[in-house]
Symmetry: D2
Subunit: 347 residues, 4 copies
């Protein structure tokens, strides 16, 4: 086994801090050496909690001696630029999804990664969740025959911060949130998406739509796969009953259902019925997605460090990130035209 | 196929009327010809709803020309005497459980049935429930290996009428209610019960105990089977969340779980959690046990009529009824002595 | 209470016989007086099993003295013509869905019913299923807030007979099978469907497609409701694991999930995992849909007879049947054009 | 916040190593300084994996300068002696359950802890499992009224090593395994156990019984609580379908069910039914109990370190450990006499 992988963690928001804590203490072979955040108090808080130096300017962090890799968990619209710069400096990159929000940025990042030969892994952590991974194994074993229909649900208990609601900055549901679902679809079905049709509406938060005309809070996106199989991705920002992420894959010989509404295996029965605590609502310490996918967030970084140390092929890869982006861009176009949209293939 | 089986229905309480309605319209090969009830208004109501003559004195009903069989659903302490008289007159007998509440009555009934050669079936309808029957089939296929541990739960949402709470009249939990569980134990485990130990308490209804000192409303009864396997039967009269009847059988190679708390496959999720309507609470038209076991109550009578018409061996039989009674009597003794009690074998 | 409703049952296929048996013995206030089937042996079999006269020509049945109503369960493409004729003769009509397969037939039927003033109920029996009905009550109570998203699944274990696969005769998935789902969508969401988009493919049965070019065996249909809410209907003819009918409705304050994959509440655990018998596969006596929805098929006819005897407004109504047809026609157009299709409103 | 708590980990078997890894990297405020094991290769392996010195003789470890606490995970019959010695030296003690296997050892340990005033926590980790803890909170909120009936199941997939099967060394099911269940009973019901009745048999592993005559592999233990409530504890060593730990608590107003047979929220449906991966079977890296209770094992030590650093009252306490032991001793006596046994109270 080779040396420790020395990480700089860029972005000390709630999620960035979560990733950095994993790197600091729970990922074998990883060593956290510095953190940065454009917001000084966030950077200082990260430094204090993690016991490493901090920078306000990520560019300084990137130029630290002996740095091997970065963990990019900044605001979505800066993922690509920061990752590109890191790749050009020869650093391996773990970047939260989506890896880019537009085609230009994505092209630049791809060029940088290919020229430098660094590893880049996109944060599609659902692939590392025990339930999704188990479903994948069963499908690969042939237990449901040939996969034909893919259904994926991503429901958040409340809208993200304003910037992330803006398709131009954060990507919105179609590009940012559903990146996970597109990636799962390609992974489970073993085929690319050719065409999408989006029915998207702002049904619950008109006050956001007043500021961001393209904002939608509920989506229903049909996917047409190249091999003729069919998918649907459904999303919402008003799942007040709790973060609700599930999927079903139907095949020629059977089906597999992934996920559950119930959070802990406890049922309380009274005269009002049988009651179970529902899915993840989050609290001060642990946001809802980290409650549900804490093990997956850890496992994806363990996988990344192993990829770097053993010089394996990175996965979920730059190509996976690009594919999810292109599907998202088409889903966004379809929302606005009311017509099906073709998914672009790179030239 | 032979002629219709002409039934007299004795006992027009809620449950007796329920059985009679099945016989009148839903049991192939059955014909209801008369009803009786010691309470005149109940007998008249039955007659009106079913369109057949009524009698206050069941003895008159028993002596009707062309009667083939009776359906005995009277108060528990009269089951044996009425069934004995019917058997002596050569009538086939379907009798609700328990078929008797004491040894003397049971002996008389056995003698009458054996001498006359009539069919007698005891109303252990759980054997005919799709879920219990499915479990039995899986066990018989060997899917869980050799059955080793039997757990059975019977929880009622409220106490029965006062007479049924009195061990001397209705049998109480140990003799009346748990007759079902003892029968399931013998059926699933394929072995007789040798010894029982009862922990029984009055925990919720002291007002009943003041009138009936031997009354208990919660029970935990350990069963020792002849083949060394082990059982536990648990019961309650205060399941306010709904009628709750379930079982688990553990074997050398696996286990089977029967029953569910949830009533209809509907889950409602709100900020208060995931809520399912719980088990059967009953309503004016359909008591809780008929909601849960309506199909089983019908199936057991279809089976009885087939037994009569095709001259098959009756089952659940007189011997099954007697075995459940003896276990119940031992469970009752154990409650009072605080010690394990041996289950008597008939001489 | 008024007189018995005298029924003629038209169509003695498996499903027609099933309905007729309910009418003969289980529907209070109903009396079966005759049956008919274009196939002589089917008509004779129905006569024999039900103990009433038979006719090969339904027109003779329609002209029986004293007939009050008909139960039309013939091949789909004859529903409208037979119902129209019955209505013109002043008979109340219970007709299996879809009530018509084309606009012309539907128009004729509507005119006949309106002129004669008879009752017409369409066989959308899912509304009468305890689980769907329970969900509706919870939604009406406001438990999930305003309904926003509707998801409905209808998966059959195998394709119907060839004639029913042909959109021109039986309606195909888009018109025939999904009529149930469209009706549920309108019922749960309280809004009409404006526009649909269908992704439909023949993925499993190319041998059927060779004969019927428009045949699809898997569908994903997006619904846009007038009130902006969104739906998706998904269907398949290759659910080998069992008939699988479920729905989810998401609202501003919560969600409700209807249905279950598990058939009886029995779980068998072995070293191969926890196994439950899946949904309804049907057998010689009881087809899969009757296993799942037996109680609903009975309840809808009890409701119809009550509607007739108490002179209530029929429901699910002619208008409900028409609405489902129009959505189905649009879904069919969208399949072929690859574009969203508007749902026509009647002039 | 005060200084780090410096731990010595005694016992480097599979479970001891597991605990030590938690202390080394995942328990805030804990610092692992040394390990020991009577088996030299186990001690060396622990040292290598954890990066701290090793000792074969735990007495040397106990005398290390600056040691604050020990984590005792040795063979069961040595728990009390090692813990006693540590307490006498002023070290805080985290000890796996049962804290002792006999009354003499338990008395000595109690005296040592009381004289020295150190903290001692017993490893009843189920109290820290999210599901059990959630049930406790719901009961404390009054959601099920007054708790009346307690049912607890502990089923292992295979027997422990021979020494642990011997009641004189490891405690057997009645003393060692069910210590968890007794502790949960006291915790949930808020009452002490007065009397027990055990039905225990060797049903599956006669080859073990040939060597250890008192060995049983299946148990059914009735608990009588001081407040008249009733419990049953059921256990097995042949749950081939997977480690199966569940509980139900019934109260005057409702019930709560804890635990599930299903391991990950994935269901695979094929023509053979709906299949879910069952409970924890363990693998080379993670034994079955660590798969199920990994989070609880971590949480109990986080709790212990907090107790030490903030000078709180230790819990689950010496008294909890003693109570579980006395119940276990009575359960063992009852097995052999076939009669109920009183639970001793300390003089």
């Amino acid at each position: 086994m080779v040396k420790q992988v020395k990480f700089g963690a860029i972005g000390m928001g709630r999620m960035g801090l979560w990733h950095a804590k994993d790197l600091e203490s729970r990922v074998p072979g990883a060593e956290l050496v510095a953190v940065s955040d454009i917001d000084k108090s966030s950077a200082m808080r990260g430094s204090r909690e993690l016991g490493v130096p901090w920078y306000q300017d990520y560019k300084k962090l990137l130029r630290l001696r002996d740095l091997d890799a970065v963990c990019v968990v900044t605001s979505t619209d800066t993922h690509a630029a920061i990752s590109t710069e890191a790749a050009r400096l020869g650093l391996d990159v773990f970047v939260e999804k989506p890896m880019a929000t537009g085609r230009t940025d994505a092209d630049q990042l791809e060029r940088a990664v290919r020229r430098s030969g660094v590893k880049l892994q996109v944060g599609f952590m659902r692939r590392f969740d025990p339930a999704y991974a188990h479903a994948k194994r069963r499908i690969e074993k042939g237990d449901i025959g040939k996969p034909l229909i893919f259904k994926s649900t991503s429901r958040d208990p409340f809208p993200p911060p304003p910037w992330a609601c803006d398709p131009k900055r954060g990507g919105g549901l179609q590009i940012e949130m559903h990146a996970h679902d597109y990636d799962l679809g390609r992974w489970f079905m073993g085929s690319e998406v050719n065409r999408v049709y989006t029915q998207g509406e702002c049904l619950v938060f008109p006050e956001i739509k007043r500021k961001i005309p393209e904002f939608v809070d509920n989506t229903m996106i049909t996917l047409s796969f190249r091999n003729k199989s069919i998918g649907v991705v459904e999303g919402s920002l008003n799942a007040k009953y709790g973060y609700d992420v599930r999927a079903e894959i139907y095949g020629s010989e059977g089906m597999v259902s992934v996920g559950a509404i119930q959070r802990v295996p406890v049922v309380v029965c009274t005269t009002r019925g049988a009651n179970a605590e529902t899915s993840y609502l989050g609290d001060d310490e642990t946001p809802h997605f980290a409650q549900r996918f804490g093990a997956a967030y850890l496992a994806e970084k363990i996988h990344f460090v192993r990829t770097v140390r053993e010089d394996l092929k990175a996965t979920p890869s730059l190509e996976d990130g690009r594919a999810a982006l292109e599907i998202g861009l088409a889903a966004f176009r379809s929302t606005n035209t009311g017509k099906p949209a073709e998914v672009s293939r790179k030239a």
